[in-house]
C-alpha cells in the first residue's frame, strides 16, 4: 500500500478543517467512515490519498435522536447498530432491513450509514482498474462488455448501478441529508443527493470536495405507515443487490393513502418510480394492482445486452414487496 498519514478529527468541524488544511498543503484527502471499502480502494490503487481523515475516531455522531417525531441519525452510526435500533426497526423498517443486509456482519460492524450511502461503485470494470468514467477516464466499458449487473434505467454514459442498500430506503422514507463542508452546511433531499451520469459521469452524488454527509433526518412516520426493503442477491450474503426495492406505504385500513417505491440495483442512482406510486393512492392493494405496480415500475427500462433478466426480476420484486407491505399488520 502507498504511504499516507492518518488524521483523527475531534468533531465534524475539525474534520472539515483538517480536510481543508491538507488540501492547502497540496495533499489529496480521503474520508474514511468505517474504512472497509476505502482501504480496499487504496490497496487496489483506485484511491491514492496522502491523508485519510478517519471520522469514526470522533465521538457523538453515531446517535439516533427522535424529537417531535422527526428522527435524526448520525452519519457515523454503524450499519449493525442501525439495523438493530428498536425505533428504526419499528418505524423505519425499510432502513433497518437495508442496513441489516449490507455485506457481512464484519462489514456492518465497521461500516457506517454515511459510508454506505457515499460508497463508490462496485462495477467490475471500475474495481479492476479499467480507466472508466468513474476512474477519471472517458468511457464506460460495461456498455458493450460484461453488463449482467448493470443499469437498466438512467444509464449513459456510465452504466453503473448505485451500490448502496440504505440509499433506496432513505429516498423511500423521504429523508433529508445534512451536509457539512468548507462552505458551511447545507441540506438536501435524499432524492436529490444522487447524481445521474449524464450530469456527472465521474461521481455518484453531489458532495463537493471536502464535504461530509454529517447526519440524516427522516420525517415523522405518518400513522399507518409501514415499510420494507427487499434485496435480491446472487449468493445469500455479501454481494450488492442485483435488484432491490424499498417500499413505504401509508395505509388507512386496507386503503393506501400514499406510497413511495424506490428500486436499487437498477440505475446509477436509487430509482424512484412515481408513476407506479400514483396508482396506489386511494386504492386497496389487490393482487392484481400489485402486478400492475410491478409492470408500471419497469416502464421505460432500457436493458443492455446481458441484463434483460433484470426487467422481469424487478417487476416481480416490486410486486411482491408492495403486496407484502400492504399485508403487514
Amino acid at each position: 500500500m502507498r504511504a499516507f498519514a492518518n488524521a483523527t478529527p475531534k468533531n465534524l468541524a475539525d474534520a472539515v478543517e483538517q480536510v481543508k488544511q491538507a488540501k492547502q498543503n497540496q495533499k489529496s484527502v480521503a474520508i474514511a467512515g468505517g474504512g472497509s471499502d476505502l482501504l480496499v480502494m487504496v490497496k487496489d490503487h483506485l484511491a491514492s490519498p496522502d491523508v485519510i481523515v478517519h471520522l469514526a475516531a470522533m465521538k457523538g455522531n453515531d446517535k439516533v435522536i427522535e424529537s417531535a417525531g422527526v428522527v435524526k441519525i448520525g452519519g457515523l452510526i454503524t450499519l449493525d447498530a442501525l439495523s438493530r435500533h428498536p425505533l428504526i426497526r419499528e418505524k423505519y423498517t425499510a432502513l433497518a432491513e437495508a442496513a441489516g443486509v449490507v455485506g457481512t456482519p464484519q462489514i456492518r460492524n465497521a461500516g457506517t450509514l454515511a459510508g454506505n450511502v457515499c460508497q463508490r461503485p462496485w462495477c467490475w470494470y471500475f474495481r479492476n482498474g479499467f480507466p472508466c468514467f468513474k476512474a477519471g477516464g472517458n468511457q464506460c466499458f460495461s456498455a458493450a462488455g460484461e453488463n449482467q449487473l448493470h443499469a437498466i434505467f438512467g444509464g449513459g454514459p456510465s452504466f453503473i448501478v448505485h451500490p448502496s442498500d440504505t440509499a433506496p430506503a432513505l429516498v423511500a422514507l423521504d429523508a433529508k441529508f445534512h451536509i457539512t463542508g468548507p462552505a458551511g452546511e447545507r441540506t438536501v433531499a435524499a432524492a436529490d443527493f444522487f447524481t445521474l451520469p449524464k450530469v456527472n459521469a465521474a461521481k455518484e452524488n453531489s458532495l463537493a470536495d471536502g464535504e461530509i454527509l454529517a447526519w440524516v433526518e427522516i420525517p415523522a412516520a405518518k400513522r399507518g405507515t409501514r415499510s420494507m426493503y427487499h434485496k435480491e442477491l446472487d449468493r445469500e450474503a455479501w454481494t450488492h443487490a442485483i435488484v432491490s426495492t424499498a417500499v413505504v406505504l401509508e395505509m388507512d385500513g386496507a386503503t393506501c393513502r400514499s406510497a413511495r417505491i424506490v428500486m436499487g440495483g437498477v440505475a446509477p442512482i436509487p430509482w424512484r418510480v412515481p408513476e407506479a406510486e400514483k396508482l396506489l393512492v386511494g386504492q386497496r392493494v389487490t393482487p392484481e394492482l400489485a402486478v400492475k405496480i410491478g409492470e408500471t415500475a419497469l416502464i421505460g427500462a432500457t436493458p443492455l445486452a446481458k441484463n434483460r433478466y433484470k426487467v422481469p426480476l424487478a417487476k416481480e420484486i416490486v410486486r411482491r414487496t408492495v403486496a407484502a407491505v400492504a399485508a403487514k399488520a
Binding site: 504511504a3 480496499v40 475516531a57
Partner: protein, 206 residues
C-alpha cells in the same frame, strides 16, 4: 473526495495494437505511468504511536499509518493465529474482535486501534483452558485445512457473547462473513451450536 488514481492508459493505435492497456492486477504500470507514481519507501511513511490492548495486554507501539491491524498483529507482534486470506474484506480469515465486535483486521488500520481493545484467537483460551468453542471445533472436526478457523472462531465468539442461545439460522447469519473453501460449513455450525447454551443443541448432531 478521494483522489482518483492518476494512472493514464495508453489507447492502442498501431496496427498490431488491439487492446486498451487496462490494468487488471494490482501493482502494475504502463510505461507512461511509472514516472507519475509517488511511491514512498518505508523510511518516509508517516508513523504514529498508539496504545492498544490486545488480549488483555496493553501495547504501546509506533506504527506506520498505513499498516493494517492485520499487519500489526502478524508481522510486528507475532500473533500469527489471525490469518490473511484476501486482504480485501471478502473472506473473513482475518476476523478479530474490536471492542467486542467482529471485524476484518485487513481493512482496519492499526492506527485506528489507539485506545481500543482487540481480541484474537490467541486470547480465547483462558489459563490454559480452551474456550468451549475451541473444544467443540475439535470434537466436531470443524477445521479442515484450518486457515479460516481463527476467523470462524472469532465470529462465533462475537455471536455467543451477544446471544448464548442461538438457532442454527442465527449461527449461519453471524458467520456469513467467513468463507471456508474446504466448505466445512456444516461442521462449523454444528460445533457452534454444541458450544452454545441452546438446549437441544448440546452435544447433539445438528
Amino acid at each position: 473526495m478521494s483522489k482518483i488514481s492518476r494512472r493514464r492508459f495508453v489507447e492502442g493505435t498501431g496496427a498490431s495494437v488491439i487492446a486498451v492497456a487496462a490494468v487488471p492486477l494490482e501493482a502494475q504500470q504502463t510505461k507512461s505511468a511509472a514516472s507519475e507514481s509517488n511511491a514512498a519507501s518505508a523510511a518516509d511513511a508517516p508513523r504514529t504511536k498508539i496504545a492498544v490492548t490486545i488480549n488483555g495486554t496493553k501495547h504501546s507501539v509506533e506504527v506506520e499509518d498505513r499498516w493494517t491491524l492485520n499487519e500489526l498483529l502478524r508481522d510486528h507482534l507475532d500473533l500469527t493465529g489471525t490469518k490473511l486470506g484476501c486482504d480485501r474484506s471478502e473472506c473473513g480469515a482475518c476476523t478479530v474482535l474490536i471492542d467486542g465486535k467482529a471485524m476484518y483486521s485487513c481493512t482496519q488500520l492499526a492506527v485506528w486501534m489507539d485506545g481500543r481493545s482487540v481480541q484474537t484467537v490467541e486470547g480465547l483460551a483462558k489459563n490454559g483452558k480452551l474456550d468451549p468453542l475451541q473444544q467443540a471445533f475439535i470434537e466436531h472436526d470443524a477445521p479442515q485445512c484450518g486457515y479460516c478457523t481463527s476467523g470462524q472462531l472469532m465470529s462465533a465468539k462475537a455471536l455467543l457473547n451477544r446471544n448464548p442461545r442461538p438457532t442454527r439460522d442465527d449461527v449461519q447469519h453471524a458467520m456469513a462473513g467467513n468463507i471456508c473453501r474446504c466448505s466445512n460449513y456444516n461442521h462449523y455450525v454444528e460445533a457452534v451450536m454444541a458450544a452454545s447454551d441452546t438446549p437441544s443443541a448440546k452435544g447433539g448432531k445438528a
